[in-house]
């Protein structure tokens, strides 16, 4: 069996021997001249050089043969690994994609429910405030306050009139008392006068008889006046009693009037306090709703941002789906029947035709995978109208 060394020797000695033979022939046919010897030496040298080169090449080739065999064996194993692993990887990606899709779908559903509830709450608050401030409760409040003021004015008026009546009755009784006193005084004076007149008439004798009669009449008149005065006084006394009773009644009425005034005042104050508190409450409520509206506007803006963020799951899902499909296709191609060679260019063309996102094209061309997809896409809110 030939050894590599023997084969190597052949690759050197054959060219070297040929060179030597050629050199001898050259020298012979040049009649062993100087030029002939020079040419022969050059020829022999060339043969040796060729032999060396061929031997070295042979040695290199022989050393590569085990590596090539190993590479071929590795390729077979790699093919087996890839054809088994690719479908598994594709299924792993499919599972991850589906898990992500389902989770984001649930999140967006919850989000949609929350948004709907927020809108309903805001709508109800707005409606309530509109009812309060837009002419319903507040209007009734203002009307009630106005009515209350009218009632209070009427009550105060009635109180004042009662006082006036009391004063007038008192003054009337005083006047009557004064008049009765004057009548009695007049009657007394007339009686005194009639007594004096009777005495003078008695002194005058017969001439004074007529005068005595007049004095008697005067006395009767005085008695009548005194009687009338006494009756008046009695009446006045009963009036005084009535007056005293009235005064007591009026005093009680005064007291109750004062008490009424206090009660009315207290009621007025209490009702005003309630009305003021209610007004304060509605003012606070209106202010709260204004704050809520401002917050709602902020929330709407954030909802808008969240809707944009949710859509990145869709892009990820598409990219993963394409990778999984490519893996499956590649695995099927590698399990091809013998004799059907892989067409790399056609396969790659097919892969690119399935791209649906800008990120896939950018990654194909290389260099942009590190950039945040969001940073590249945030400007991409374009609409084309046809």
């Amino acid at each position: 069996m030939e050894t590599p060394h023997t084969r190597e020797g052949v690759y050197f000695w054959y060219p070297a021997a040929l060179g030597a033979a050629g050199a001898l022939l050259l020298a012979y046919f040049s009649a062993f001249s100087f030029i002939g010897w020079v040419a022969a030496l050059a020829f022999a040298g060339a043969g040796a050089l060729a032999g060396t080169h061929l031997a070295a090449r042979r040695k290199r080739t022989q050393s590569q043969q085990p590596a090539a065999a190993a590479t071929a064996a590795n390729n077979d194993e790699l093919e087996k690994i890839v054809s088994v692993s690719m479908p598994v990887w594709a299924r792993q990606i499919g599972t991850s994609r589906k898990t992500g899709d389902d989770a984001v779908a649930s999140l967006t559903h919850l989000f949609a429910t929350t948004v709907s509830r927020l809108e309903n709450t805001l709508s109800a608050s707005r409606k309530a405030v509109a009812e309060i401030s837009g002419g319903g409760v507040l209007s009734a409040l203002n009307n009630s306050e106005s009515d209350l003021q009218t009632v209070m004015q009427t009550l105060r008026g009635m109180q004042e009139r009662k006082g006036v009546i009391l004063d007038e009755v008192g003054r009337y009784a005083d006047d009557l008392r004064q008049m009765a006193s004057e009548v009695q005084h007049i009657a007394l004076q007339v009686r005194m006068l009639s007594f004096n007149a009777a005495i003078e008439a008695a002194h005058a004798g017969k001439a004074g008889q007529g005068f005595g009669i007049v004095a008697g009449e005067m006395r009767q008149l005085a008695d009548l006046s005194a009687e009338t005065g006494a009756r008046m006084t009695k009446k006045i006394e009963s009036v005084a009693i009535i007056d005293e009773t009235l005064a007591n009644i009026f005093k009680e009425a005064e007291n109750s009037h004062d008490a009424d005034a206090v009660s009315i005042g207290k009621a007025d104050a209490a009702i005003r306090e309630v009305l003021d508190r209610f007004k304060q409450l509605t003012a606070t409520l209106s202010q709260s709703v204004k704050v809520m509206e401002a917050e709602a506007e902020q929330v709407r803006s954030q909802i808008s941002e969240a809707i944009v963020e949710f859509q990145f799951q869709d892009r990820v899902s598409q990219i993963l789906a394409h990778v999984a499909d490519d893996m499956k296709t590649l695995s099927e191609s590698m399990n091809r029947q013998a004799g059907q060679a892989l067409q790399a260019e056609a396969w790659l063309k097919g892969m690119v035709s399935r791209f649906s996102t800008q990120e896939e094209f950018d990654n194909l061309n290389g260099g942009v995978a590190e950039k945040s997809a969001k940073k590249r896409i945030t400007h991409q809110h374009d609409t084309t109208f046809f």
Partner: protein, 122 residues
Amino acid sequence: MSKRILVIDDSASLRQAVTIALEGAGYEVVTAGDGKEALSKLDGQRIHLAICDVNMPVMDGITFVAEAKKLPNYRFLPVIMLTTESRESRKREGQMAGAKAWVVKPFRPEQILHAVSKLIMA
């Protein structure tokens, strides 16, 4: 009566996102997961506008637009394509099929509402 919009996308979360934006503006929304299901939804109810993804299983968006336009009641149905695709060649396909607008995802709610208000049938 509020206008009814058909939203077609194979992604449930995308359908939900579009629905949030549209219902917030007072539109009624009907959804479908692919073009074939969407065609069945056109039957039996009045649809005023469709928003349609391009890449979907069973029937893609471009095919849906072409098929919808063949229906007697929907020859003039305005369709907005809502997709991750941004290539001019795909936009031309959509235009040739009869779409009225092309919106590239991710969309902002005000963006889709602007397109809807501009195109929706009276």
